[in-house]
Structures are given as C-alpha cells and as structure tokens.
C-alpha cells in the first residue's frame, strides 16, 4: 500500500443536468518521501486534484487515503502552498507562520516556537524580511513565505499548487531550484502541480501528465532518472532530459489532448432582436428599445 493513494477518484461540478465532470476515475499512488509532479493543461482540474488530496473538497466517487487513512477533510498533516500564496495581509511574515505554529504545537515553549519559525524563515532565505507584511514583499518572496509556512507545519505531505505560476521567468527559475533543494532535503512526500513540463522534470522524481478536461484522466507515470542536484544549464543539452520532455509532451498532445467529442455545452443565444437602424433619429438620438424575441407576440391568421 502506497503512502498517498487515490483510487477511482471522480469529481464534477454543477447541478444535475448542467454537470461537468472535471476529473474522471483517477488512480494515483505516491510513495513516502517521493517528489511527484503532475503536469497538465491549465483548466484541466489540477487545482481540483490538489484540493481533493488536501481534503478541501471531497471526491464524488472513489477514495483518497494517506497512510491508509481516508481523507475526510483538510488537516495540518497536508501542508499546502497555494497558487496565490494565501498569506494573511494583516500579519507579518513571522505572524503568518506563527499562526500555523501556535495552532499545531500549542505545547511548545515560546522560545522553541520562535526558533522553529526563524529556522524555516531562514530556510527560504527571508530572515531579513521577517517583520514585513506581505504587501511589502515581492511575489517571489511571498511564495517563499508560503513555502516556509507549509514546511513549519511539519506536514507529512507537502502539496504545491502551481506555486510559481504567478512569477516571472527569472524568479521562477530561482525558486524552482530552491524549492527543489529544500524539498529533497526535507525528505517529505511532495506533490507538485504545474503546467510546465520543464519545471516538473527539474524538480520531481516522477512525472504524471494530466490530460485535458473535462473528464481529465492521468497518463502513465514517467520516472525522472536524472542525477541531483540538477543543473538547468546542463540539462538543456542532456539527451535524457529531452527524451523525458518529449514523452510528456507526446502524451499531453496525443492521448491526453482535448477530446473534441466530449465537449458538450449548451449555448444560450441572447434573447434580443437586432436593433432597427431605419428608425428615425430624434433630437436626443435614436430611441433604442431592446426587444426580446420571447416577448414578441405572434398571431396566426388563417386564410380560407
């Protein structure tokens, strides 16, 4: 039995009749200490998948279990780094992390909590900014705080929901290296969600492509057997890197691509008659009256 396991998980939204299935019959197993990246199209339900693992949403069918225990709700054993950081703007960096530490380790002494927070802030290289508020930090710094907060919770699983999606390319590259390093050093089980195959290959041990939605399914898992630490400059010319990348892209564009037949959407046309341009102009412009097709009265006159 794997550490983190999803079995036949499906999830949809909407009410009966207008229902869209986002994820269909997903199976996923992640071993303890493994770093798995799920690479998929935007809008394919990646965030829904991470929310299911986090317990913020529950699957319609199938089970999510961690350590053989079924996930029935969110909990601090699964630390999440949200796409939009989710830092509380009225708290400083220290207070944001302290909120988590105070809640999870209420029995610790103040000194131990302080040391714990300082350690994790230092880990992401933000010791100089510990008393600043999120508004005074750049996007990259905010995301580091978010990572520090998740790590300070000492979770069993670290869930990264497109953590670098909102960052510029250079910051993104730096943080990829940093999170990759911190992640593998912590020895934690990590699930990374991303839309960038390179990011996945650079950071993860194993990559699983997620097909296009609706009704997205997971592709075959692709092991990234590249030496760590991975050097992004050298990787660009590494034939193995290229092969893995090609494999992911091939699946995403092939079997996992948009299924044109499965898209069904009810189109509702506006219930309006086109405006009559022949109407005479008055002093204050054309008098525009919106007319609805449904309000038009039709009379059938039978002629004999």
């Amino acid at each position: 039995m794997a550490f983190l396991e999803l079995k036949g998980v499906s999830k949809g939204f909407g009410t009966f009749g207008h229902r869209t299935e986002v994820l269909r019959d997903l199976d996923l197993s992640v071993e303890r200490g493994e770093f798995v990246a799920i690479v998929g199209y935007s809008g394919s339900g990646k965030t829904t998948l991470i929310n299911l693992i986090a317990g913020l949403q529950l699957p319609d069918s199938g089970t999510v279990s961690i350590n053989d225990l079924e996930v029935t709700g969110p909990g601090p054993d699964r630390g999440i780094v949200f796409q939009n950081y989710s830092l509380l703007p009225w708290l400083t960096v220290r207070e944001n992390i302290a909120l988590a530490v105070d809640q999870l380790f209420p029995n610790w002494s103040a000194a131990r909590k302080r040391q714990h927070i300082d350690h994790h802030v230092g880990l992401v290289g933000l010791s100089h900014a510990v008393d600043r508020r999120p508004a005074e930090l750049s996007g990259g710094m905010r995301q580091r705080v978010s990572v520090a907060r998740a790590l300070a919770m000492d979770p069993q699983v670290l869930l990264l929901d497109e953590p670098l999606g909102a960052l510029d390319a250079l910051t993104r590259a730096t943080l990829q290296d940093e999170i990759g390093r911190i992640g593998s050093a912590s020895g934690k089980t990590i699930v990374l969600i991303t839309n960038d195959p390179d990011e996945g290959i650079l950071m993860a041990d194993r990559i699983i492509p997620l097909g296009a939605g609706p009704g997205a399914t997971l592709g075959p898992s692709i092991v990234v057997d590249l030496e760590r630490p991975r050097d992004r400059k050298a990787l660009n010319h590494d034939p193995r890197f290229k092969a893995i990348r090609a494999e992911i892209v091939r699946w995403l564009l092939g079997p996992g691509a948009h299924k044109s037949t499965s898209v069904s959407r009810k189109l509702v046309l506006p219930d309006l008659e086109p405006e009559d341009l022949d109407l005479p102009r008055t002093l204050f412009g054309v008098k525009r009256v919106a007319r609805r097709r449904s309000e038009q009265v039709r009379e059938n006159i039978e002629l004999r």
Partner: protein, 280 residues
C-alpha cells in the same frame, strides 16, 4: 507660470475657496440701509438678495461672545459654542457606541448566514430609510416611564437605531468578501470556529467595518441636531432651535458652521483610523 509646491497649494487652494465663499456670502446677504424719510427722520431697512440672511461680518460681530469664550457657561441657555458642542458630542458618542455594539454582530450574522440574510434583509431595508424625526417620538414614548433619564434614553435610542445601518450593511458585505483562500488557511490549520472568527474573519473584515463605522458616525452627528430640537436636551441643536425662536439668525448661522466643521473633523478622524486598518 510657476507651479506652487503641493503642500502650499494644499493650503492655498482651500483658503482661496473659503475666501471666495465668504465674499459671495457677503454679497448675497442682507445689509442694513438707512434712508431719509420725507419727514426728515432716518429709517433703517434691510436690503439685499437674501435680506434676512446675516452676512459673515454681521455673524461674527453678533456671535463673538460664543466663539471667543467657547467654554464659558453664563446661563443654562447662554454658553460657549464648544460647550454646547461638547454636550452634543457626549450623547452622540454614547448612541454611536450602542449602534456599533448592535450593528457589528448583526452585520456578521448577515454576512455569515444566507438564510439569516434572506429572513432579515427585507426588514433592514425597510427600517433603514426611516428618518430620525420618525423614530424620535417612538423613543420618547418607549422611555417615558424612566423619569429623569427619559430624554437621554430616547435620544440614545434614536441615534443608535438611525446610525446602525451602515455598520450592519458594510460589515455584512465585508464578511461575504472574505477571500476563500483565507478560510482555506483556517481549514487546513483546523482553527476552531472562535479562532477562525478572531484570527481570520474579523481582521479580514476590519476595513469594511471601518467604512461602516465612518458612515455611521456621520449619521449619528446628523441625528443629534434633530434629537435635541425635539427633546430640548441642552446641546448645539437645542441652542440652534432656541435662537431660532428668539429670532437671532446670526446664531443659527454660527451653529450651522460649527456643526459642519465638527462633522468634517469627525469624518477626517475616522478616515485616518480607517486607513490605519486598511490591509493589502
């Protein structure tokens, strides 16, 4: 043309505006003219566009004693203008405190529960536009058996019930606007309901709450004049009404200016507080 530095123009421009207003006021206000009658006596009469409106110079001359000794207490109905204002401010503060104490939790309930909103929103929308002049008699009746405190309680009731609504509605909007992300943080950390309220929801709603508080304070200050006119409590509104009955129009102008200035200062103070609590 050389531009003034911003700090100078920030002072200069309003000053120019005030001067222009004073000049216009003087121009349209009534003045006293003397005319020689056919029988040789001099007769005084008023002239001008609004001949009963006292101009700024007349106002200053007639109401000096209220302004230069703002805290003097000569008689019950003859006190310095700031002393009157102080009486009014005290009662406003009490009524306002009641309004906030009732309005904030009510706003939270409305923001948190959809069914509560559906139940009580129509009633709030009906009570909200009711004028203080309409509430006041009800307040007097309700508290008529409380003896000496009756007037004060009626005043507090009226202020509270009129000033409460912006706080209620803004708090409710603020609670509904709390980003789901913040609540997700609370869920992941498994914060208790009370903790979630205290650590996440209240701080996240504060900016909205303060907007409500500011609007409520404005209304409380509006209501006090009406309340004092009706109940006869000593205060600036009551002073205004008495001077109207005495035919001293200059004092009315003084009261209007004072009420305006105090209202403006209260609003400024609240908006400074509000900015202090703005997050992100």
């Amino acid at each position: 043309m050389k531009k003034f530095p911003p700090w100078l123009s920030n002072i200069l421009m309003p000053f120019v505006g005030i001067v222009v207003t004073l000049v216009l006021w003087q121009a349209i206000s009534g003045r006293v003219v003397q005319s020689r009658q056919p029988d040789g006596t001099m007769e005084e009469s008023k002239a001008g566009l609004l001949k009963d409106l006292p101009g700024p110079i007349t106002t200053w001359e007639k109401t000096r004693k209220y302004v230069v000794e703002p805290f003097a207490k000569r008689e019950e109905l003859d006190q310095g203008i700031l002393r009157f204002t102080w009486y009014s401010l005290v009662i406003v503060a009490k009524g306002y405190a009641i309004a906030l104490a009732l309005g904030t939790p009510l706003g939270f309930l409305l923001g948190l529960s959809k069914s509560f909103t559906k139940m009580f929103d129509p009633i709030i929308q009906i009570l909200r536009p009711v004028s203080p002049l309409a509430w006041m008699p009800l307040g007097v009746v309700l508290f008529s058996n409380t003896g000496r405190a009756a007037n004060e309680l009626a005043a507090l009731f009226t202020i509270a019930v009129c000033a409460m609504w912006p706080t209620v509605l803004n708090t409710a909007v603020g609670v509904r606007a709390i980003p789901q992300d913040y609540l997700n943080v609370a869920r992941v950390l498994k914060l208790s309901r009370w903790q979630t309220l205290r650590r996440i929801m209240i701080p996240a709603t504060l900016p909205y709450m303060f907007t409500g508080y500011r609007l409520s304070l404005g209304i409380a200050w509006l209501v006090i004049v009406a309340v004092e006119m009706l109940t006869g409590r000593i205060g600036i509104g009551n002073f205004l009404w008495n001077e109207y009955n005495n035919g001293l129009y200059t004092s009315i102008v003084l009261c209007i200016v004072t009420i305006g200035v105090v209202g403006f200062l209260l609003d400024r103070a609240m908006s400074l507080l509000e900015r202090r609590f703005k997050t992100a």
